[in-house]
Amino acid sequence: MTASTATQPVKQRKLSMRQRESIDFYIAIAPWLIGFFLFTGGPILFSMIMSLTDWSGLTTRNFIGIQNYVTMLGQDKLFWISLKNTFYYAFASVGLGTFGALLAAMLLNQKVPGTSVFRTLFYLPSVTSGVAVAIMWIWMFNPQVGMINYLLSLIGIKGPGWLNSQTWAMPALIFMSLWGIGGNMIIILAGLQGIPDHLYEAAKIDGASKWTEFRNITIPMLSPVLFFVIIISVIESFQIFTNVYVMTRGGPGTATLVYVMHLYLNAFEYQKMGYASALAWVLFLIIMAMTLIQLKASNRWVYYEGDTEGGE
C-alpha cells in the first residue's frame, strides 16, 4: 500500500514528461506541419480537384469529370510532342551525363598529385545554373560567331544552326546539360572512395586485369550510388524548364517543347488552369512510374553488400 502510493507520483511525473516531450515535438515541427497543409498537402488535393474542371483562373469553374485527361491523351498533339521531346532529352542527358560523371570521377580518383584542383574545376559549372548560364550558352551556340561553331571550324566542320535549327536545338540543350555533371561526379567520387582497398588488392593477387577489376569490383560496389544518381537525374531532367524557357521558348517550332514548358504555357499564358493541373498530375504519375520501373529493374544490377551478408 505504502509502496504503491510512493510510486504513483513518480509514475504521473514520468507520464507528464512524456507528454511534455510530445508537445515539444509538435511545437518543433509546427512550422513545417502548417507549411505542409498550406503549401503542399492542401495544394495537392486542390490540384486534383482543379484537374477535373475547366477553370481558367478567372471565370467560374465547371466540373467536367475526366474530360481534361481525355483531351490530353486524345486531341492534344502538343502533349504527345512534348512527351516525346522530354523522353529524348531525359534519356540522352541522363545516359551521357551519368556515363560522363562516372568517367570524370574515375579520372579524379587516381592517386596522382593535383586531383583536388581538378575536382574544384570540374565541379564549378554545376553550381552556376540559372538564367545567367542559359544566356551564356545562347552566346556559345550562336551559329555565326559562337564559340562552339568556331571550335568546330578549326577541325574543318561547318557547325549547324544549333538553337535556330529544328534538328540541333535539342542536342544543344543536351550538350549544355553535360557541362553540369560535376554534382553527380562528386557523389560518384565519394562512392568510389568508399570501396575498400582490400578488394582491389585481392583481385591483384588473383591476377585480375584492370577491366575485370572494373567489371567485377567497381561497378557492383558503386551500383547503389549510380542507381541513386540515375533516379535523381531522371526526375530532374523530366522537369527541365529554365534553360528551355530562356534559350528557345520551346522552339524552333516545337523542337524543344518539353513537358513542363507545355504545362507552363497552358497554365500561365493560355489561362487553362484546370487543364494544366491535369498535365501536372500526369507528370507526377509519369515520374512515379519511371521511378518504380527503375526500382524494379534495380534488382538485376544493383548490388547491396548488406543483402548478401544477411542472406548467407
Binding site: 579520372l107 553550381v127 557541362w179 565519394a190
Partner: protein, 300 residues
C-alpha cells in the same frame, strides 16, 4: 626467418626490370597521362566563363568578329556601369534578389533546424508517419503544387510582391529537414541527457548544446538555400510582373527582349555580375557544397 630472408632477396629484382616497367616510372607515366586528359577537360569546362567575361569587355564592333577575339582591345570596363544603369536600373532587381535570398536562408535555417531536431530527438505519437510525409513530399514535383499555390497567393493579393517568394521558406523544406535530421542523428544522445540532468529544457538543449555542434550542416543548408534562391527563376517568373519587383534572374532577360539587336556585351556583363556571388561562395565554402551533396547522396 627464412621466408623473410627470401623476401629481402627478391627486392632488388625489380631493378633488373626494364626502366619503363618500374613502379616509379609507371607512376610518372600515370601522372602525365592524368594531366594530359584532365587539363583539356578543365579548359573546356572553364572556357564558356572566359568567353563570357571577354565578350562583356568588348566594344560593339569586336563582338561579332570571326574568328573570335579573345583579349578585347580596348578593354571596355565602361560596359559594366553602362549595362547596370544606363538602359534599365539593375540596382532594384539586385536588392530584390538579396532580400529574397537572405530571407529564405534565415527562414530555412529556422524552420528546418527546428523540425529536424524534433524528428531526430523528440519522442511523440505519430512521429514516424509525419516523417514519412516529409520524405514523401520530396518526391512530389513542384509543378503539381505550383498552380494551386499560385491561386492561393493570388487570392491573398500577393502577386507582384516578394511574399510568395519569401514566406514559404519559413514553413520548412523537406530536403533540408532531412539533411539536418541526418546530421542531428550523428550527435551522441548523451549530450542531451547530460544537459537535461543539469536542468536544461528541450529548447535549451536545442539552442545551446546541439545547434552549435550543427554549424557545418547549417552552413551546408545556407549554401544550398543561397544557390537555389539566387538562381530561382520559375517563382519570380510567375509572381512578379512589375519591373520594380523583379529579381535579378528575371530582369537579366531584358537585353534579350529586343530581338535582332541583342547587346551581347551588356547581357554578358550583367550575367557575369550575377554569377560573382555564386562563384565567390563556391570557393569560400566548397567544403560545405561537397558535404551536402555527399550527405544527401550517400546517406540518403
Amino acid at each position: 626467418m627464412q621466408q623473410v630472408a627470401g623476401q629481402t632477396e627478391t627486392v632488388p629484382v625489380h631493378y633488373d626490370v626494364a626502366w619503363y616497367k618500374r613502379p616509379e616510372t609507371r607512376q610518372v607515366f600515370k601522372t602525365i597521362l592524368f594531366f594530359a586528359i584532365a587539363i583539356p577537360i578543365a579548359v573546356a569546362l572553364i572556357l564558356p566563363f572566359l568567353w563570357m567575361v571577354s565578350t562583356s569587355l568588348k566594344v560593339p564592333k569586336q563582338i561579332f568578329k570571326f574568328p573570335p577575339i579573345w583579349i578585347p582591345n580596348p578593354i571596355q570596363w565602361q560596359n559594366y556601369p553602362d549595362a547596370w544603369t544606363k538602359y534599365t536600373n539593375f540596382n532594384i532587381p539586385l536588392m530584390n534578389s538579396l532580400i529574397v535570398t537572405l530571407t529564405n536562408i534565415a527562414g530555412n535555417l529556422f524552420s528546418c533546424s527546428l523540425a529536424a531536431y524534433g524528428f531526430a530527438r523528440l519522442r511523440a505519437p505519430g512521429k514516424n508517419i509525419l516523417f514519412m510525409l516529409v520524405l514523401g513530399t520530396m518526391m512530389v514535383p513542384m509543378w503539381v503544387t505550383l498552380i494551386p499555390q499560385y491561386v492561393l497567393f493570388a487570392r491573398l493579393g500577393w502577386t507582384n510582391t516578394l511574399l510568395p517568394l519569401t514566406v514559404p521558406a519559413w514553413f520548412g523544406w523537406p530536403f533540408f529537414i532531412f539533411l539536418l535530421r541526418q546530421f542531428f542523428l550523428t550527435l551522441p544522445k548523451e549530450l542531451d541527457d547530460a544537459a537535461r540532468i543539469d536542468g536544461a529544457s528541450t529548447w535549451g538543449i536545442f539552442s545551446r548544446i546541439l545547434l552549435p555542434l550543427t554549424k557545418p550542416a547549417l552552413a551546408t543548408v545556407a549554401v544550398f538555400s543561397f544557390i537555389g534562391n539566387w538562381n530561382n527563376f520559375i517563382a519570380p517568373l510567375i509572381y512578379l510582373r512589375d519591373p520594380e519587383k523583379q529579381t535579378l534572374a528575371l530582369a537579366m532577360q531584358r537585353f534579350q527582349g529586343t530581338q535582332g539587336n541583342v547587346q551581347y556585351n551588356y547581357m554578358m556583363a550583367v550575367a557575369v555580375i550575377s554569377l560573382i556571388p555564386i562563384i565567390v561562395l563556391f570557393f569560400v565554402a566548397q567544403r560545405f557544397f561537397v558535404q551536402g551533396i555527399v550527405m544527401s547522396g550517400i546517406k540518403g
